[in-house]
Amino acid sequence: MADPMRVRATENGGVTDVKILMKHDMETGQRKDSAGKTIPAWHIQTVIAQCKGKEVFRAQFGPAVSKDPFLNFKFKGGAKGDKVAVTWVDNRGDKRTDEATIA
């Protein structure tokens, strides 16, 4: 199982600000190890955020995104106490979901 991400959501004036810190090596497939062998690509491909079961954000990530990606977005319609669930799926099919309560 992949490492947990940190999710933080705050609501202010009807706008919910979501900050996500994902923990992932994000191997590009371009790097070589000390033996000169190519390290296979291994990175997040899809990030989805849902609030109360409704999708509020979707992103496609590629090899150009850094290791341990940080993501910040805003959406309208969240209320304090609602849950925001964030899911990522990587190119090996691994996935991880974490939740935060809007404060």
Partner: protein
């Protein structure tokens, strides 16, 4: 005959115990120069110390990649982990802290400090992790987990 059997089984048990002990003490040495070295950094003096520590931590990982480093922040040492904190040149800490965190450095913050200084958990940088007490954490890491201690 019976006694001999008991003695033999006792000897076997002793061998078993010795083997287990050896297996437990065998060090797991990952790659890198600092493979088995664990270090705890105490940060409790505020922004200037934190600026020095950022340099120390970077140099530490350059000199001995693979070292397991834990930063324990309490007292005024928490300030640099508050979102938007700036050093005397006006640079924020999120960049260096993020880079160090992805290099494997852990940032642990004392909950007692947060309570006493009325700093909310959500105002801290996302890389930080909360522990119940900073001083207890430092003592525990040194005594129970064999960490070396550095105060920059």
């Amino acid at each position: 005959m019976r006694r001999a059997f008991i003695r033999a089984s006792a000897a076997l048990a002793a061998i078993g115990l010795a083997a287990k002990a050896a297996a437990q003490t065998a060090p797991a040495a990952p790659a890198g120069k600092g493979g088995h070295v664990k270090v705890v950094y105490q940060l409790s003096e505020g922004i200037d110390q934190a600026v020095r520590a950022m340099g120390n931590l970077r140099n530490h990982l350059n000199g001995a990649p693979g070292t397991k480093i834990v930063v324990v922040a309490f007292g005024y040492g928490v300030d640099f982990l508050v979102e938007g904190a700036k050093d005397s040149r006006g640079n924020t800490f999120d960049g260096p802290v993020g880079a160090l965190a992805s290099a494997g450095v852990e940032f642990r913050v004392c909950r007692n400090t947060l309570n006493a200084r009325k700093i909310s958990e959500s105002s801290l940088l996302m890389e930080s992790k909360i522990v119940p007490a900073g001083v207890v954490e430092i003592a525990r890491l040194q005594f129970d987990e064999g960490y070396a201690y550095i105060k920059p």
